[in-house]
Symmetry: C2
Subunit: 106 residues, 2 copies
DNA sequence: ATGATAGGTGACCTATTGGTCACATATCAA
DNA sequence: TTGATATGTGACCAATAGGTCACCTATCAT
């Protein structure tokens, strides 16, 4: 799960995920073209990080490689880590609401 | 939101959040004692990153500083970013289920 | 006032990371 | 087979990040 957090830390990598979300199964070259501010090699390095985190699944097809988004690790992070804090968020909201209500009554 | 992702990328920082989750309002020294593998300065740098991301709220009290967990940015990341992929996860499960069902029927 | 305690700052070092490039490999089309 | 296309690798570089330390400031207790 550490790899997932680290992979998500970079804005370019999140953009890559977004691009795959919009159109799944793009090739490396297709993706690289979307990131004109960077060379193909930069994009490939980011893809390597994303693949290592299991967020992107590569499928070789002849001389091309299609990249597929895998949302499962994100879902796991959400369930095993984020949900814990989200619960606290909810209780914080409840506490705030109670505070406001109490203040209004006073 | 970029700051939040970057802050969450480091395992030590996630541990700090966990420590505050377990006991909110700890002081810098208290926290530093929990991370014996690191000096107080290392912990303070991490705290700086967490504060900048709004994940930790500092409250000065005399010569001590109490750190409070703020789950709101995490909740925002969950809602504005993760939920999008979680939805795809669900649809992927549905697709998988349909595939299995279809295979079983064949 | 004075010492002890809690925290802060800036310089500094090292390892990692983001990024590029030259070059190599594999596949396809003619 | 030969040239073009798609991707891969390793060296390399600059910037950033994690971490430590010497030193400083502010507050508290006596």
């Amino acid at each position: 799960m550490d790899a997932v957090f680290r992979a998500l830390a970079d804005p370019t990598r999140r953009e890559i995920l977004d691009a795959l979300f919009a159109e799944d199964g793009q090739t490396v070259t297709q993706l690289a073209e979307r990131f004109a501010e960077m060379t193909r090699f930069g994009v490939m390095k980011h893809l390597g990080v994303l693949e290592e985190a299991g967020l992107v699944i590569p499928v070789r097809q002849g001389r091309t490689k299609r990249l597929y988004l895998n949302p499962v690790p994100i879902e796991q992070v959400a369930n095993r880590w984020i949900s814990k804090y989200a619960a606290r968020f909810t209780s914080a909201l409840v506490a705030l609401d109670q505070h406001i209500t109490a203040t209004e009554e006073a």
